[in-house]
């Protein structure tokens, strides 16, 4: 089967007046359709740079990114991106927050010229797929948002403001905002790191289950090894700066140990943890 996402020989450097920093060097990997792919690495190994490249916030200096075999720039695929913090906009209600992506997409549909040529219109990161039905405010998309809010236990908070929600609920609202655009690939940039430990376990469990039931292809970045093992189908280990692929680890808990909290209790968990730990340690001692 053709991989959903192919990354070939990707390199990227940051340029400043004081010099150049190589963030990523020769990164290659594939992500299969419907797979939960996790990238771990020591801090400063270019994890976030990699996600920015994947979702088009940055353009690669070298190498290619293919989605369904088509270069990312030309691909119509929608990529959803979840940031470290939820970034719900305080002045909007929850419903209006989760519909932000649709709102932006609609405004671009209504005035397609706004995307090109004008002073403000930088190329948008997510190409709009023309096959989809046009969304108008108040049509089915709003109903499906309400259905999602109900499914994820936020219906009562539709008209609440973000400050009235707990950290976990806010993160779920952020997930709905991302899923509302029906992304082909979900990129998660340490989406749980800003939460306290207990909430973090719960939200991680919640969100990874949601993603798995929806059979979304997801790429998660984290520095938390237990978290990585508890959700991943495969784990990519990056070396410290400049980031290179150290190894890719298959994680298999058997068919009936899906949920992250359950995985944490499985006997294989400790073995995977030690293996991952060793890979990361190896990197440190080789420096």
């Amino acid at each position: 089967m053709k991989p959903k996402l192919e990354v070939r020989d990707l390199s990227y450097s940051y340029h400043e007046l004081t010099g150049e920093t190589v963030a990523l060097s020769n990164i290659s990997f594939d992500v299969r359709d419907g797979e939960f792919f996790v990238i771990v690495g020591p801090s400063g190994c270019g994890k976030s740079t990699l996600l920015s490249l994947l979702c088009g916030l940055l353009e690669p200096e070298e190498g290619t990114i293919l989605i369904d075999g088509i270069p990312r720039r030309e691909s119509r695929a929608v990529i959803g991106y979840m940031l470290q913090r939820d970034h719900l906009l305080e002045w909007r209600t929850i419903l209006s927050n989760v519909s932000l992506g649709l709102e932006i997409r609609n405004s671009h549909r209504r005035s397609p010229d706004a995307r090109r040529g004008s002073f403000f219109a930088k190329r948008s990161a997510i190409p709009v797929s023309k096959e989809e039905q046009p969304h108008r405010p108040g049509d089915g998309s709003r109903d499906s948002l309400t259905a999602m809010l109900r499914a994820y236990g936020l219906e009562a908070f539709r008209d609440a403001h973000p400050s009235q929600l707990s950290g976990g609920m806010r993160q779920r609202a952020a997930l709905i905002r991302t899923l509302a655009l029906k992304p082909d690939i979900l990129l998660l940039d340490e989406p749980f790191s800003a939460l306290d430990y207990q909430t973090r376990l719960e939200v991680c469990d919640d969100i990874s289950s949601i993603i798995k039931t929806q059979k979304k292809t997801a790429v998660l970045i984290t520095h938390d090894l237990s978290e990585a093992i508890s959700v991943a189908d495969r784990i990519l280990v990056l070396t410290s700066r400049p980031g290179r692929v150290r190894t890719i680890l298959e994680i298999d808990f058997g068919p009936d140990a899906g949920r992250p909290l359950k995985r944490r209790n499985a006997p294989e968990f400790a073995a995977y943890f030690n293996q991952l730990w060793k890979e990361l340690k190896c990197d440190e001692t080789s420096l």
Binding site: C55, Y81, S107, A121, S124, A156, S166, Q198
Partner: protein
């Protein structure tokens, strides 16, 4: 006056929203919302003796502040009146509350004071609105273009630190002895600082919020309308508070130099003909006008920031 207990219905409502049932939320959710509810719950139930004592003390403190505040004003006016009555200070030079009041009543009777106050108020409002519109538009432009902002920065800094009163005589020559000069003077006093403040504020917009909009497929225009402007409402309003005062300064400078009406004109006229009652009265009205304008924006601020 509002007693602390007046807040109870609102607090109870907030509390109700906090404990809405059937959310299926996590434990963290419940914990957090309970936190919001705690205060109001204690307030809506019968407060404990300690809480009552606290409210009582707080109430007493507020009353005290108000009384002393009023006393200072009354004592000051009484002393002033008394000293001039007794001839200890010369009321021809220092005026007196009674004479100021008489002057006001006389001008109120023929309506002239309302004309002068109205003119100053109108000029201030027009220049204030112009300043806000120009400053927001310019700050957005500077935000949108890094090159433009870097090119213009030293000029803006220079114009901002230039004492604008030095420009007023020039404006008279350019724009004539008219209301245009006054408004131009007022705008020039407020607008440059305002542009710089707003631009700095715009540049501090959370970079991740901009990434969010971009990741949702938005352009710079979306960043502007969905994040930058709404997030900057508090900044824009607090900047408006500064601007309204500065515009009033500009209007008075303008009226000093080129006007046939307005409080600034009255002040200059009164000093030239040595009518101290008129002069001091104009200043008192100016005090009231500036306080009123500031309060009006504070009301707007409360509405906008919720």
């Amino acid at each position: 006056m509002k007693h602390p207990f007046d807040h109870t219905p609102a607090a109870a409502e907030k509390c109700f929203r906090g404990i809405r049932p059937g959310l299926g939320g996590s434990a963290g959710a419940a914990r957090r919302n309970a936190g919001a509810g705690d205060l109001s719950q204690t307030a809506s139930r019968c407060p404990s003796p300690r809480q009552l004592a606290y409210l009582e003390a707080e109430h007493r403190h507020r009353v005290q502040v108000r009384i002393i505040r009023a006393m200072i004003l009354i004592l000051f006016l009484a002393l002033w009146e008394l000293l001039s009555e007794l001839g200890i200070i010369d009321s021809f030079i220092f005026s007196s509350p009674g004479r100021i009041l008489a002057c006001f009543l006389q001008m109120a009777a023929d309506g002239s004071i309302f004309l002068h106050t109205g003119v100053t108020l109108l000029e201030t409002l027009v220049s204030f609105l112009l300043t806000v519109v120009i400053a927001v538009a310019a700050a957005v432009l500077l935000w949108a273009s890094r090159s433009l902002s870097e090119i213009l920065e030293p000029y803006l800094v220079m114009l901002n630190s230039l004492p604008k009163s030095a420009m007023a005589p020039l404006l008279i020559v350019w724009l004539g002895n008219s209301i245009k000069t006054i408004i131009a003077a007022a705008v020039s006093v407020a607008v440059f600082g305002s542009i710089l403040t707003l631009h700095t504020g715009f540049m501090q917009t959370d970079a991740d919020k901009i990434r969010l909009i971009t990741s949702l497929g938005g352009s710079r225009r979306d960043v502007l309308t969905k994040v930058l402007i709404p997030a900057s409402v508090p900044l824009i309003i607090s900047n408006m508070k500064v601007n309204v005062g500065l515009c009033l300064v500009g209007v008075i400078i303008g009226e000093f130099l080129s006007a046939r009406a307005g409080l600034g004109y009255l002040i200059i006229y009164a000093s030239q003909v040595f009518k101290m009652d008129l002069l001091v009265m104009s200043i008192v009205i100016l005090c009231l006008v500036s306080t009123m304008l500031y309060q009006a924006i504070s009301v707007l601020e409360k509405k906008a920031v919720r």
